[in-house]
């Protein structure tokens, strides 16, 4: 190598090194370390025993693990239509009159919950859904309905948490969709309007198709973040009633930090990693051309 190419290579390495160092030490390295930990039975005060894939076998035989996986899937699947649906609806609303001052405030109001931390969101909704004093239930009862105690019914608890999550995050999606809508050239809208198309037709024939990349990207993002849901579940129900809302991240946390079975918890982490990496790669393939990644 000539001195010049070496100098060039060194410069590129220098540019990459700070980021790469953090990435290797704190993102990539821990993945490998996690796999390593998952092959042992760990004991903070004594000897660690190598047990190869026993942790994974124990997980496969643990009904509680499968329960957590199913709950997680249910949650991830439910949040997608809720967050995307509300996000698109709000974006269409805000976009339609986007030059009005009032609509800017509407967008701000719908967006605000995103800035709250998960603890606040979960506390608010736990209080709103309290069996005896929560105003959501009280209002529904006043309206003559017989609402279930959402957070105490196995069939309703995950949809309820999903709804609270949508309340929290839909505003963020709304802003992203609204921005993507603004990227659509005005000429397309003009042409359609000249052709006599109404607002709904324009929305379905032009806006939605052109938003497809953004919607698909949002779909992937929402699904993946649904897989690691933790804070809301911990604070709203602690995984209850029974184990009806115990999700994978909570299962991992419990096994790691309540039962001190670190090897098993690390195995759950590895499984989560594999699932999410799989989803990522599949979606890059699928969206790669569309989302111009």
């Amino acid at each position: 190598m000539t001195r010049r190419t070496f100098a060039r290579a060194a410069e590129i390495a220098a540019f990459l090194l700070p980021f790469a160092a953090f990435w290797v030490i704190f993102r990539a390295g821990p993945v490998l370390y996690g796999i390593f930990i998952s092959l042992y039975r760990w004991d903070p005060l004594g000897e660690n025993t190598f047990i190869a894939l026993r942790n994974y076998l124990d997980l496969a035989r643990d009904a509680r693990f499968w329960n957590a996986l199913v709950n997680t899937l249910e949650f991830a699947v439910l949040t997608v239509p809720l967050i995307l649906g509300l996000g698109l609806a709000f974006a269409a609303l805000v976009f339609s009159h986007r030059h009005r001052r009032a609509m800017r405030w509407v967008e701000a109001g719908l967006f605000f919950p995103y800035l709250l931390t998960v603890s606040i969101v979960a506390l608010i909704w736990r209080w709103l859904l309290d069996p005896d004093f929560g105003i959501v239930l009280l209002l529904l009862r006043d309206a003559g309905l017989h609402p279930p105690v959402f957070l105490n019914e196995p069939r309703w608890v995950i949809p309820a948490i999903a709804f609270a999550t949508a309340w929290w995050l839909a505003g963020y999606r709304m802003v992203l969709f609204r921005a993507a809508m603004e990227d659509i050239p005005d000429e397309l809208y003009e042409a359609a309007r000249l052709d006599g198309a109404g607002a709904w037709r324009i929305y379905f024939a032009i806006t939605l198709p052109l938003l497809r990349p953004a919607i698909l990207f949002a779909l992937v993002l929402t699904t993946i973040s649904g897989f690691i849901v933790f804070g809301q579940v911990l604070i709203m129900t602690g995984g209850g009633p029974g184990r009806a809302s115990e999700v994978l991240a909570l299962y991992m946390y419990r096994y790691g930090f309540e039962f001190l079975e670190m090897g098993r918890a690390a195995a759950v982490g590895v499984i989560l990693f594999v699932i999410i990496l799989g989803l990522t790669l599949v979606s890059f393939r699928w969206l790669g051309s569309e989302a111009e990644l």
Partner: protein, 273 residues
Amino acid sequence: MRLRHRGVIGVLAAAVALALLWLVPVLWMALTGVKPAPEIFALPPHWLPHAPTPAHVRTVLTTWPFPRWVVNSVIVAGVTTALSVVVSIPAAFAFARLRWRGRDALFLVFLSSLLIPLEVNAIPLYFLMNRLHLLNTYAAVFLPMIGMPIGVFLLRQFYLNIPFELDDAARVDGCGNLRIIWHVILPLSRPALAALVIYMFIFAWNEFFWSMIALQSPRMFTLPIGLRAMQGAYDIEYGIMMAGATLASLPALVVFLLLQRSIIRGIAMTAHR
């Protein structure tokens, strides 16, 4: 003509009503925080407090190091954002503006971890931070977040859209890459940097799972974790919890009222390709 005007007013009114309805949970939280306990549990519910009290707020502030939590959050979010920006800029530049062998392959490797959250690394990170004696320190929380490739991704996307002729012109003038970054790229990438700063700050401020594991003493908690500790401790006392939650929302509220346009614009920027 008049019909369309009425239609617009109708839509706007409905939209405003929707936004207000959407914010009712936040209002209800704040109102509960100032009601004395008997009013909180009154049936039928008191929509507005008859005898508002600062007692819950006082309890929160005297029993817990609340201001300290805000400071901790500011430090963690601030350092994460600052360092993230600092390391992302040269890396993004190398990926966007320079040509070298293996560039796209390496970028894909980093990119594949874009969507992988911190949570999957929680157990090994815990062990690692324990080894490094960094548990219960700010470093334990901000170090892993700086390794997130979102900054490199966003900035590279933006840099790709800056005309390459500017680089060439500067090189002809004898500038090295560092100067190009400093004098050409940075001044032009202010919107992207703003977007990245907003995104990372919000992300780091609200980070929960890993912070909960890494921070163990109440004086080190960030705001979300401190609030969770309060909830664990006071799960009977809704007045105190709601007062605490309201206080915890104040930083976000203040920043939002002041910078709402910039924040929304910054977020929107990440969507524009």
